[in-house]
Symmetry: C2
């Protein structure tokens, strides 16, 4: 069992990941800006750390051996926050992970961030930020797992996925719950180290893809 | 003499750099979005290449051995353009430079981009973009020179500078013309390879600082 720092633990993926990691028996430090947003999650193995990703949040790393970054500036803020959160806070998290000898950094990235030029997308600035954050992580000496899910939905997870980008754009989806489950399967898993996974709805068992 | 691609050649630094490089006898390919903006610059050793930094602009690199990146999204556009131009176009320029075996890449960066967290600045998103672009260049195998000028002014250049950040904030200035001159002194200059220079008004001859 690991001691996992979840950055963005009150987000839509982060909260599900936190609950699943706690259920799996891990200790979780949940980094949130406002602890009220996690008031419905209680467990003996949960520590809540209030912090601001635009400030120094290195204190949250104390005692942790694993990091999950699933913070995002969200759809309702401008690209200045894309730069400050999706890129810079992620970059700083990698630097702190290096300082704290973190054994695994799980980054929730996005489909399309491998090559932001590939399609003419309205979210290209976001994909650029995610690309550069992923690149910074890959160039660090911190062992990483990068998840690149398709369009996120609120459906219940099925745990059936495929890694390859579906040709049909309508099929480039994945329930957030399956991304949260993929995080759990990634942790303490040698096979997932220094790997990048695409995650789309499909017909392969999620566990067999990650583990 | 070199064949220099100036990216952002119609900008406030770029135009002065282009003129000075032409005067020094170099051949210049000037990459601009709109060639009318350079209609007042004529020289036999000038080629103008119209291109869009948000598209593939690798064609501009053909025949060049040196690159100067002084494009900027400017103060009148939003941080989406900061991501697309100041960060991503710079990143793509480095990738093209790698493909074309460019012997020197001169990047016009900014004071503060070494550590965007150091001060609470309204231009922090811009500094993050410049930091990550500089980092991408430094991690490439392309020999680089990074210039980090202070606040840019339209005064005539004096060619007297200092590298260290002045303690007095009012003195953290530099005429654009001196930055343009620093670009010229950097090129074909072994001492300037894989170096980062701060550039502020001061009392040292610019030429002796760079060369």
């Amino acid at each position: 069992m690991s001691h996992i720092l979840v950055i963005g633990a009150s987000g839509q993926i982060g909260k599900q990941a936190t609950e699943k990691l706690l259920d799996a028996g891990h200790t979780v430090t949940a980094l949130v800006r406002n602890k009220d947003k996690l008031s419905d999650v209680t467990a003996d193995n949960l520590n809540i750390y209030e912090g601001d990703l635009e400030q120094d949040f290195s204190g949250a790393f104390k005692g942790c051996d694993t990091v999950v970054f699933c913070a995002g500036s969200g759809a309702n803020t401008g690209p200045d926050k894309t730069l400050l959160i999706d890129l810079w806070a992620a970059r700083n998290a990698v630097e702190y992970a290096r300082q704290y000898n973190i054994k695994q950094f799980v980054m929730v990235s996005s489909v399309g961030s491998d090559d932001p030029d590939a399609i003419d997308s309205p979210i290209k600035p976001y994909l650029v930020a995610k690309h550069m954050a992923d690149e910074h992580l890959r160039n660090s000496d911190v062992p990483y797992t990068i998840l690149r899910p398709g369009s996120l939905t609120d459906e219940a997870g099925t745990e059936y996925v495929q890694e390859l980008l579906p040709g049909d754009e309508d099929k480039r989806e994945i329930p957030r719950e399956d991304v949260a489950t993929a995080i759990v399967y990634s942790i303490d898993n040698e096979k997932a180290l220094n790997r990048i996974y695409g995650l789309f709805k499909g017909d392969q068992p999620l566990k067999s893809v990650i583990q």
